[in-house]
């Protein structure tokens, strides 16, 4: 609960409202970048708190509660919201003032929650958000009358305009200070009570709101195209294509700069220090590790810029609508699609993007299968092995055999994911039908300020929580591959004498049935830092000199001469499935708030990889490729 920047004396305010009511925009306007994002204790729900200062100079600690349709919770998000305002959430103080945020253009839906919360008798304010849009649509709301009916102050707000929260801050200043008392016992509403509340909402709307016939022509015209079964799918394909094209194309240059900068810094530092463990730690451990963290940023920033803009505009839920049926067949929902597609670039932003999936079980299933999407870090390994073992030959007149093998590797990952999702559906999700019930909000133009704040938040989370783990793992892997130093009369490569070398030799018998020699086993260990590192590590094992590309070029003929085709195919199969990436496991730990799921993931992926490699190796050998 203690946030360093937030003084204890400030009043605690909680924002509560339906999803899509513009609550987060209002929160951003109130607090700017003075936000602290964490998780609620013990759950994976994001906790956002920030500091707001009223024009009169009073300070408020504002908590942005997860969006909820009802206190009768249907998801982990809604449970948190209910428990916070009922004072049931451990480690969470009762808010002193509740601000019910509503979409002023959709009070019919939003007021029901307001009435439900009003019955708890907590000090409360009603914010009619998006009041500018409501005014433009000719919706007239009798504020004094509404305030009198509800018995709470009512203020208009505009979450996307500077000064749009001032009426709210003024109203907060005017609220008498109260000592928060726990809410009276709450019970889930019955059918009759819900119907009665809706009746009251209609009555209030009849008296307080004058609304002209809503003009939905604009929205519906877009929806008719965007949600069309065929045309909509074609548009979605184009949007996704452009998005991933951008992630690849735009990220390439900055990633190159980061890599070049890291290399330059490594050389600069290396030149000033004497050869020894310290230099190696700084250059190969710390600097390479920091570079390894930063190199993910361009893809994360570009991907999230698209995702946030698509979400904010209202397109993302419509894309989920289009894909829901196909994804539902394997027990996922339409919302799993973008995270999975992102995982083809890198599982790390992909797993971070699962936050758009509200349903926890869907989200977990998506996280668990994300590493099966063939990420770009596997490509150097694939390129090396395919180049060395698969002849360049034309098949069936048009297809390139090397290309076909690459395609088969991608396909194997996808089929593996379908299989795992299906097994999860049949085991963890057995007998449970989970409804979609997803709001398709009105189209709107994404707000740049919210976009920027959202991006900043993702970057901060990545660097702070994931970066630290990736950096420490890189240093550990470096230490394993460096110590102990080889004896003075060493004949083999240095790595052979290190802990990584010993470990590699120790696991060799285990990997013999799948055709891996000790060279591969050793290379797999530094390859845990990132998949592509395995290529460089193989180069080290074969005592090759030069840069990455030179090593890869020399390595091809060597392994082509020394390995059997069965071994190469087996290693390819291994790389399709194996969790050869500690960073992914680190991000899963972070996103699921427990060691259970990364361990489960590592376990099942290793099992699948071993099985796939075993089958590949044994079948290839029996066909004479041994």
């Amino acid at each position: 609960m203690s946030a360093a920047a937030l003084a204890e004396g400030d009043r605690r305010v909680a924002l509560l409202g339906n999803p899509n009511c513009g609550k987060t925009a209002l929160f951003n306007l109130l607090t700017g970048s003075r936000q602290k994002v964490a998780n609620y204790a013990g759950v994976t729900v994001e906790r956002k708190e920030g500091l707001a200062t009223s024009p009169a100079g009073r300070r408020y600690r504002v908590l942005d509660l997860p969006g909820a349709y009802s206190l009768n919770a249907d998801s982990a998000d809604e449970e948190v919201t209910r428990d916070v305002i009922l004072g049931h959430l451990k480690g969470e103080q009762l808010p002193e003032v509740l601000v019910c945020v509503t979409d002023a253009t959709n009070l019919r839906l939003n007021l029901r929650l307001v009435l439900e919360v009003r019955r708890l008798g907590l000090p409360m304010l009603l914010a009619l958000n998006m009041s500018d849009v409501a005014a433009r649509r000719g919706i007239e709301i009798d504020l004094p009358q509404l305030s009198q009916r509800l018995g709470v102050p009512v203020v208009p707000t505009v979450g996307v305009h500077r000064g749009g929260a001032d009426p709210l801050l003024a109203a907060l200043d005017a609220m008498p200070a109260t000592i928060p008392a726990p809410a009276p016992p709450w019970h889930p509403p019955t059918l009759a009570e819900i119907t009665e509340t809706h009746r009251q909402v209609r009555e209030i709307l009849r008296v307080c709101v004058r609304e002209p016939e809503v003009d939905r022509r604009f929205d519906e015209r877009i929806d008719r195209v965007v949600m069309h079964p065929q045309v909509g799918m074609a548009i979605l394909a184009i949007v996704l294509f452009l998005m991933f094209q951008a992630v690849y194309a735009w990220a390439e240059a900055p990633m190159g700069w980061i890599e070049a900068g890291t290399a330059w810094l490594g050389e600069a530092v290396g030149a000033t220090l004497a050869d020894g463990p310290l230099r190696s730690l700084l250059v190969d451990g710390v600097i390479a590790g920091v570079g390894g963290v930063l190199v993910f940023l361009p893809q994360i920033v570009i991907l999230f810029a698209f995702i946030l803009a698509l979400e904010d505009s209202g397109y993302l839920p419509r894309a989920a609508f289009l894909l829901d049926h196909a994804m539902g067949k394997v027990g996922l929902s339409g919302r799993s699609f973008i995270p999975l597609l992102s995982s083809f670039a890198c599982a790390i932003p992909g797993i971070m993007a699962t936050r758009v999936i509200a349903n926890w079980r869907d989200r977990l299933a998506t996280i668990l299968i994300a590493p099966l999407m063939t990420c770009s870090a596997r490509l150097p390994v694939y390129a090396l092995l395919i180049g060395a073992f698969i002849p360049e030959r034309t098949v069936a007149g048009v297809f390139n055999l090397q290309g076909l093998v690459l395609f088969a590797l991608y396909l194997a990952g996808i089929l593996g994911a379908v299989l795992v999702a299906f097994v999860l559906k049949r085991t963890v999700g057995r007998g449970l039908h989970h409804p979609l019930m997803m709001e398709l909000p009105t189209w709107r133009l994404p707000n740049l300020r919210n976009l920027a704040l959202g991006l900043l938040e993702r970057v901060k989370i990545f660097i702070r929580r994931v970066g630290g783990i990736i950096l420490s793992l890189t240093i550990i892997v470096w230490a394993l591959a460096t110590f102990p130093a080889p004896p003075a009369d060493a004949t083999g490569p240095a790595i052979d004498y290190s802990y990584a070398g010993m470990l590699g030799h120790a696991i060799t018998p285990l990997f013999a049935p799948i055709g891996f020699g000790w060279e591969i086993c050793i290379a797999l260990i530094p390859g845990m830092a990132a998949r592509e590192v395995a290529v460089g590590a193989l180069g080290t094992v074969y005592a090759l000199q030069g840069g990455d590309e030179a090593v890869a070029a020399q390595l091809g003929p060597i392994i082509a001469g020394q390995w059997s085709l069965a071994t190469a195919l087996s290693l390819l199969a291994w790389y399709v499935f194996a969790p050869q990436c500690l960073s992914t496991l680190a991000v899963v730990k972070r996103e699921t708030q427990s060691w259970r799921y990364p361990l489960l993931m590592a376990g099942y992926l290793f099992a699948m990889a071993y099985l796939a490699s075993l089958l590949t190796y044994q079948i290839a050998r029996s066909l004479g490729a041994g």
């Binding site: 018995g151 409804p435 979609l436 019930m437």
Partner: protein, 104 residues
């Protein structure tokens, strides 16, 4: 706290003599308008979906509310985009079958 002045009963209005029989929301075609009669557990289907019924009511599928199918998804008419009381929701067929409507 607020007025509870009488209003035309919200609970399902008497079916009008000439009106067609209530059907499941899932059976409407695109663009068709209807009026919600009730939300209930579909017959013959497992009975643990009380929370689903409550949630459908909470998001606005209350008796007498006007609904309209805006779009069908590409998977054999699933999911459905339904406009109810000014909001559009995507429902799977399973949820839509809980909602009984009177086509208008």
């Amino acid at each position: 706290m607020w007025s509870t002045a009488a209003e035309p009963a919200l609970a399902a209005a008497e079916p009008q003599p000439a009106a067609p029989a209530p059907v499941s929301l899932a059976s409407l075609h695109r663009g068709q308008r209807a009026r919600v009669v009730e939300v209930r557990l579909p017959q013959g289907i497992h009975g643990h979906d009380t929370n689903l019924v409550l949630r459908l009511l909470e998001i606005g599928f209350v008796p007498d509310e006007r609904v309209r199918i805006v779009a069908h998804g590409p998977g054999g008419g699933e999911p459905l985009a339904v406009r109810v009381g000014g909001t559009m929701f995507a429902l799977r067929r399973h949820e839509a079958e809980h909602i009984l409507v009177q086509p208008l």
